[in-house]
Symmetry: C2
Subunit: 348 residues, 2 copies
């Protein structure tokens, strides 16, 4: 009975999601309990790799893959395709590079509905040579991560991946620091590109929901004459990653990044288990995610130390990269948090 | 510079807060960076006491008190005034009862701007005898916690406390389970009472922001011909306690409950450090709160085990009391989370 009640209450949220879907020119629907256009992208291994130099055990990667398949997740981002010239394979784990044989070692030929994605960083990827033609790869999607000043390069990376036959997304990092005029210019260039989806990325976990809404509105507006989608990638520095993801989807974002137990850099990401609990599309299933979190992801927490924590809250409040917080947390003996706050204010 | 930017972005949120304050018939203001009517109520010891049977060391209670004073917090709720007939003082710590001498042992005569509050539970408090006249107590405010079916008793408790000279609030628990017609009837009775503020209490951490907004709107609407305030007390079962508190304040709630490091039952409360980071009233100061969290509150986490965790997420999703999750977590060896999920679904 309690379940019925909450489903009933939640219907108002869902109806609002429905109304907003008109923004994407989806056919009008009056009474549906979910928006089928919504895609969930699991970033557990890719973003989590920033906490262990991409050195996950193969068993862990396989467990996350199997959980994503069983949970009905749409995409799993398995790592980076970054340069072996810039980053030594001796110093970084395999998920920094995503060699085709390493991916196949986990997924075989991936005969499942789960699509596979990898991320290439602008200026850090030998994308022309390292990204195979899509018919030679089990990857389905290339995601290009870029700061605002790298947009011209990112556009060439999108062109390259598109020509090779991949779905593509452009993940515009540190959206909380981009001046409005540059954002507008970038969006108008992106609207003319081949990219399939453009992400609002709150790299610093600095955005409040209203700011996320304004950015999603701006992105949708700039793309309204195209069939491109808008995505959201939130960080949890202020315990707002899930809340901001919901607000973005209510406004019309259809590509939602999340990770199991929120595993990701610093304060981590939107927890996949929360967004799956919120969405009503019956293809998503919570139970296999819970198993994987309990037995494969949480056991890594003591070593990887991701998740909400005061140093990350402070960098988020100051709209700064979390690296100072990661340094503070990596020290053997924790220093004074109040002093860290003082120092960050001075550096701001 | 980064700081300036975030302050600039945040201004849009704050302006929206300003517009909404018209709901409370506050004088119209065009350009202010904070709403002075907002009151922060610290629940660290009161709600946290539900995780250790109210057995805090005096030094801990003193540290929280001093941090609240230094942080410019408006109220500190120091515990419950519950019945010694129902709850044996041998089995519960002093903050279950809040004897006047115990409070004075911490705060002396409290010659500070911080006001002190205690909570009395409907049907669990000998309020007529145990609550002293306010001129014999250092307490300033009595908060009455009630379920919907106890409203008539709660109204008598409010009358009693008001006549004794206290400020009062009524905290309507488990708002996510109250049928709309009963809620409307309760609000119309409360509008005629002497209570100073009425709280939306999301006891089960089940509400999404839009539902919180709808409840705050309903409460404000029912109270619009009075000068009563609306409050919000959120739980973090879905990592939405802070987000829901912001949404409530944007809609016009002026009494905001929070606790240091979110200490509170189960998944805990809205973290005070996050809401102080968000608000711009210069009377609130983050630094002393950080000190207290680091040295006095966090050291209790391993034993008290509050905070977001999958069992609490599951009870929240099912709109259930967290007690099943607390039992699950108290077991020496954790059972299967997926099985806990199955059992909760069957119980729903």
């Amino acid at each position: 009975m309690a379940i019925e009640r909450i489903h009933q209450i939640t219907r108002s949220v869902l109806n609002r999601i429905m109304d907003q879907s008109a923004l994407n020119e989806a056919p009008a629907r009056k009474w549906l309990t979910y928006r089928p256009e919504i895609k969930l992208i699991d970033c557990t291994i890719r973003d989590g790799g920033l906490m262990n130099d991409h050195r996950f055990e193969a068993d862990t990667v396989r467990a996350v893959y199997q959980a994503c398949v069983a949970g009905g997740i749409d995409y799993m981002e398995i790592g980076y395709i970054n340069s072996r010239q810039i980053f030594s394979p001796d110093e970084h784990g395999p998920w920094k590079f995503c060699a085709e044989e390493d991916i196949r070692g986990i997924v075989g030929d991936n005969g499942t509905p789960l699509k596979l994605a990898a991320m290439a960083d602008a200026e850090k990827s030998d994308y022309e040579t390292d990204i195979l033609p899509s018919d030679e790869s089990v990857l389905d999607m290339i995601r290009v991560a870029t700061y605002i000043h790298q947009i011209p390069l990112a556009l060439d990376m999108i062109r390259d991946a598109h020509e090779k036959g991949y779905e593509t997304t452009l993940n515009l990092m540190a959206a909380s620091t981009v001046p409005e005029s540059e954002m507008d210019e970038a969006l108008s260039m992106l609207a003319e590109s081949d990219v399939d989806a453009i992400y609002v990325v709150d790299s610093f976990g600095a955005l409040y929901s209203e700011q996320v809404e304004a950015l999603v509105d701006k992105f949708l507006n700039a793309l309204q004459s195209t069939d491109k989608q808008v995505g959201i990638h939130a960080h949890n520095n202020q315990q707002l990653a899930f809340a901001n993801t919901i607000q973005a989807l209510i406004r019309g974002a259809n590509y939602l990044d999340a990770s199991l137990a929120g595993l990701g850099r610093g304060a981590g990401n939107c927890p996949m288990e929360l967004i799956v609990g919120f969405l009503h599309n019956p293809k998503f299933r919570l139970r296999p995610l819970l198993e994987c979190i309990q037995y494969d992801v949480e056991p890594m927490r003591a070593e990887l130390m991701w998740g909400f924590d005061l140093p990350y809250m402070i960098t988020g409040l100051m709209n700064q990269h979390p690296r100072a917080g990661m340094r503070f947390n990596a020290a053997k003996e924790r220093g004074s948090m109040a002093r860290f706050y003082d120092e960050m204010e001075d550096a701001g």
